[in-house]
């Protein structure tokens, strides 16, 4: 336990976390500090490209093994399954409408790629190596949760509009295509390819992540400021509990598959994290009556900071203890 706390403290005073904190503080103080939308999108493209590429190079180096298939299957099952658990928990803990509960559940089944990126960079600073294909697991987990949520709404008689093209759109959304595409580029070009572009995608990575998290902090802080009162105590408690529940399922899957400690920490992080890019966009189309102020506040304002500060070091400590050598 002492380890966990020192790890958490070490994590908390990293430039990455403090940049996020700066962003939140600036937003709460109503500073006019903003990062232009185009620059923020540019940074997210950079991060997705880098993380995908490095994952692919990892697979090229260590080869494909049986665990890979197991991991991808587990990822799909987790993303399909977690929304049901989230929906159930929300029923106990909140008085939200069915639509709102389903929309929130979709977010927690899916993943936050920035949380994943932050976790990989914590692993790196600790010298832990994870399986390269964890990136592929992240891509697999983006979409299935949306289907589960729509299925829940359909069963409960809610008005999910199965608009044509929605599924195609989800599967082909920019983040997934870029992540999977750069994963394959990395896998094909391998270490040679990485050597060519390492000064771009490896060396400055942590620094870009700082600025990106500064922006995330600004956005999360503004969200918190504007939505005060709309999200009740029960919902906030859910936003803190659900990542722990999700990570427990992720841990079980990781132990069953036999992932390395680093890989287990990443699968826990993926299961614990909640989407705030792909799923909100899908919800606006499929469940327009569900309130963005609820699902965005929970995933971005509560769960994201929780994972960033407490969650990731906790998952890492647990996985190195249980899955560790």
């Amino acid at each position: 336990m002492a380890d966990i706390f020192s790890l958490a403290a070490g994590n908390l005073i990293s430039p990455i976390i403090l940049s996020f904190v700066l962003g939140v503080a600036a937003a709460l103080a109503r500073s006019d500090l903003t990062i232009p939308e185009a620059v923020a999108k540019g940074m997210s493209i950079y991060l997705l490209f880098a993380i995908g590429f490095k994952g692919g190079v990892g697979v090229a180096a260590h080869g494909v093994d049986a665990k890979l298939v197991g991991t991808l299957v587990a990822a799909g099952v987790l993303s399909f399954g977690l929304p049901f658990i989230a929906f159930g928990l929300l029923g106990f803990m909140t008085k939200l409408t069915t639509l709102d509960k389903a929309a929130v559940a979709a977010h927690y089944g899916s993943i936050s790629i920035v949380t994943f990126v932050a976790a990989t960079s914590v692993l790196e600073t600790q010298g832990l190596v994870a399986e390269g294909y964890m990136v592929a697991a992240a891509a697999v987990m983006e979409a299935p949760a949306i289907l589960s949520a729509l299925w829940i709404v359909a069963r409960k008689g809610g008005g999910a509009s199965a608009t044509k093209g929605l599924y195609r759109e989800i599967l082909l959304n920019g983040s997934i295509v870029l992540l999977v595409g750069s994963f394959f580029i990395g896998a094909i070009t391998g270490q040679d390819g990485l050597n060519q572009i390492a000064p771009f995608i490896v060396a400055p990575f942590q620094g870009v992540l700082c600025l990106f998290l500064l922006d995330m902090g600004l956005v999360a802080g503004r969200g918190l400021r504007d939505s005060r009162g709309e999200v009740g105590g029960g919902a906030i408690a859910f936003g803190l509990l659900m990542p722990l529940v999700g990570s427990a399922f992720g841990l079980m899957a990781a132990l069953a598959i036999g992932l390395s400690p680093g890989g287990a920490a990443l699968l826990m992080t993926l299961s614990a994290s909640a989407s705030y890019i792909a799923v909100p966009a899908a919800m606006r189309v499929a469940l327009p009556e569900a309130k963005p102020s609820i699902y965005l506040t929970l995933s971005l304002g509560v769960t994201f900071p929780f994972n960033l500060t407490v969650g990731i070091p906790l998952y890492t400590a647990i996985s190195t203890t249980l899955a560790g050598g």
Binding site: T34, I35, P36, E37, A40, K41, S44, S161, T163, G165, N173, G174, S175, D215, M216, L218, V219, R222, G223, D226, Y276, I277, A278, P280, A281, A282, R284, V285, P288, E289, P292, S293, L300
Partner: protein
């Protein structure tokens, strides 16, 4: 210069629905429109600005259609199909256009 009566329809709509709106316009045979970026705004769901959005699907756009008066109803029906349940405002203004053969 010869001017012709027309309608200017301005639709302010969520980004996530933009392609659905333009598809719907196209299938109602409305093939002329211009999309302007929106930096921010406010309405019943409170104020927002684009720089405070991280989500790709987020933000709004303003779609402007210039159309002959007799084709207005078709356009509004097509637009309304998409806008209906969502955030979005629609306004219609009398205007005049040059080069009516284009519309």
């Amino acid at each position: 210069m010869q001017r012709h009566k027309a309608k200017r329809v301005e639709i302010i709509i969520e980004a996530a629905l933009l392609s659905r709106l333009t598809d719907s316009l196209q299938s109602a045979d409305v093939s002329g429109y211009t999309v302007l970026p929106v930096k921010g705004g406010s309405g019943r769901s409170g104020p927002w600005t684009r720089d405070g959005q991280i989500s790709r699907g987020s933000g709004m756009f303003a779609v402007i259609c210039l159309i002959r008066p007799e084709r207005l109803d078709g356009l509004l029906e097509a637009a309304f199909e998409v806008v209906e349940k969502h955030i979005g405002v629609v306004s219609i203004t009398d205007t005049e256009i040059l080069r009516a053969e284009r519309f």
